[in-house]
Symmetry: C2
Subunit: 328 residues, 2 copies
Amino acid sequence: MSVATVSRVINERGYVSEKTGLKVQEAINILHYTPNQAAQSLTTSSTKLIGLLVPDINNPVFLRTIEGINDYLKEKGYILMYAESGEDDEEMSNMVRRFLSNRVDGMILCSRDFTQFGDMDAIIEPALKNNVHVVLNGYVDSKFEIDRVGFDNVRGAYLATEHLLKMGHSSIALIAGTDSTISEERYRGYREAHIDNHVSLNPALVVKGDFRQHSGYEAMLKILQMNPRPTAVFAMNDVMAIGAMMALEDHKVSVPDEIAVAGFDDIIWCSLIRPRLTSVVQPKYEIGKKLAEFLLSRMNESYSGPGRHEIFGSRLAVRQSTVKSEQQ
Amino acid sequence: MSVATVSRVINERGYVSEKTGLKVQEAINILHYTPNQAAQSLTTSSTKLIGLLVPDINNPVFLRTIEGINDYLKEKGYILMYAESGEDDEEMSNMVRRFLSNRVDGMILCSRDFTQFGDMDAIIEPALKNNVHVVLNGYVDSKFEIDRVGFDNVRGAYLATEHLLKMGHSSIALIAGTDSTISEERYRGYREAHIDNHVSLNPALVVKGDFRQHSGYEAMLKILQMNPRPTAVFAMNDVMAIGAMMALEDHKVSVPDEIAVAGFDDIIWCSLIRPRLTSVVQPKYEIGKKLAEFLLSRMNESYSGPGRHEIFGSRLAVRQSTVKSEQQ
DNA sequence: TTGAAAGCGTTACCAG
DNA sequence: CTGGTAACGCTTTCAA
């Protein structure tokens, strides 16, 4: 019973007599033997580990995506190394290195927005140089050929804005996010909807937030002081929209009767708050699956062409926050 | 410039002349060299990897706990291998093996309730036999000396029930969870509060759910048909409580005026729904930290005594769902 | 201060 | 069908 034989039994590879196989199995059970992946990976150069970097698990946006990734990967025998990056350049870089050190077979990087990083390429480069594939969830300009999966932000924002316009609002405040491609694109949707519907755009109606709930609250306070007061608000993401709704609640402004509110992302919270929040639906789970799929196809070399860029389409989930009761 | 020298430079161990050190650094940069953790672990027998098994990331209860774990561990240079177990015996066992295979330095197992597993010991045993430490978040009877951190369920349920009783309710329906220690303990709290407050217990008021939102909804439907109808409901967790509130909303029963509702866990959703949900606060983040702390202390052998069992105390967050407006 | 070599647990290859 | 052995990339010990 040599090590070679044991290896054969475990990997079910090569010829092993039934008798020997049984004997080995027995020994394994008695000794609680578990193969050492580290040693395995030393010879096979595959760890079946995938690095996953997420800015913040507490943001429900990422949860479904993680699930999509996990479901796809688990089925194929991969396991996730999870790390939180906190949207910090340095931190991200460190984690990428850490992943490399652990010899992940590939990595998935999620970010609210990659463009805010001075030099995303510098972060990814070490991975690429080590022949570790990277896929991105987000928006980047990169000189490398990497796959990314994103979402049609322009269209999403367009749909939400158009919906508000169609509901009769002509003065729609916009709670924007931090300067980033996402914000730009969502702004463009907002803008184009106005143009297409022949409603003039008023820059004074744009209030800047930072994608976090509190900033939505603050922004709403400013909007409430506008004169004339807008009759609708579109927030660039749901948590800001929810912050805004809380401000409205605190000031006893009724939604949607006095002010209609729409958000973006369709996080689970939308259906919990009252009135339910109208929001742009991102197929988060599918995005996760696609990310995993892209990555695996790179890893097993079933694809090796130029960087792919899958953009998922949009849909608006219309709920109570934008539909007055008499219109229902 | 031998491998030995490079090793010294990287680990900042042993004597290396400044000149050589610089030369090595330079080469590292040029080559994008990253140490191979797998190989390192082969000689050091430490991977700095911690396995984390969670039933379901989508349940907000676990999120904060994961964060607590992550924060504590990251600081000490550990990284998480994350896996979802789905509360399934077989699945759990597999993941434990997978972790072992990856030679995690330790593992943290979370479960809504371990007692539902026929043989939790069988699941943990392989880890223990391989000298990999395990800590548990949950409730287990185990013949092994493992650390666990839990929560004072009896007290928590007691506080919630007592609060409802003090608010004048004498007929409090209970939406229970699946048969498990957690359910038992929360039931005990419910029961003891009744006894201490000299209110007789009515078994007919207990409706069984399964800890999931939908079951809370269904349970509430049954409660609404009771005659006389209870004036308050205590659900054994928040998602069931929220399901119950949705049923009440659908049937136009006002909360808390017609029926008061209290939950357990204090997930973030409690503050999002209206009326805000009164709930028993679990220090989820601290639980996570404690788990990590227990594990590390075992790993570095600063502790090696009998299994510790840390039970976190309870607090009730009283919100609108149990306090009538005139009482505020 | 540096290098050579053994050893960690596996797999792959070659001989028997 | 089975066993021996080189090789994987690293750390550690010992010698130079």
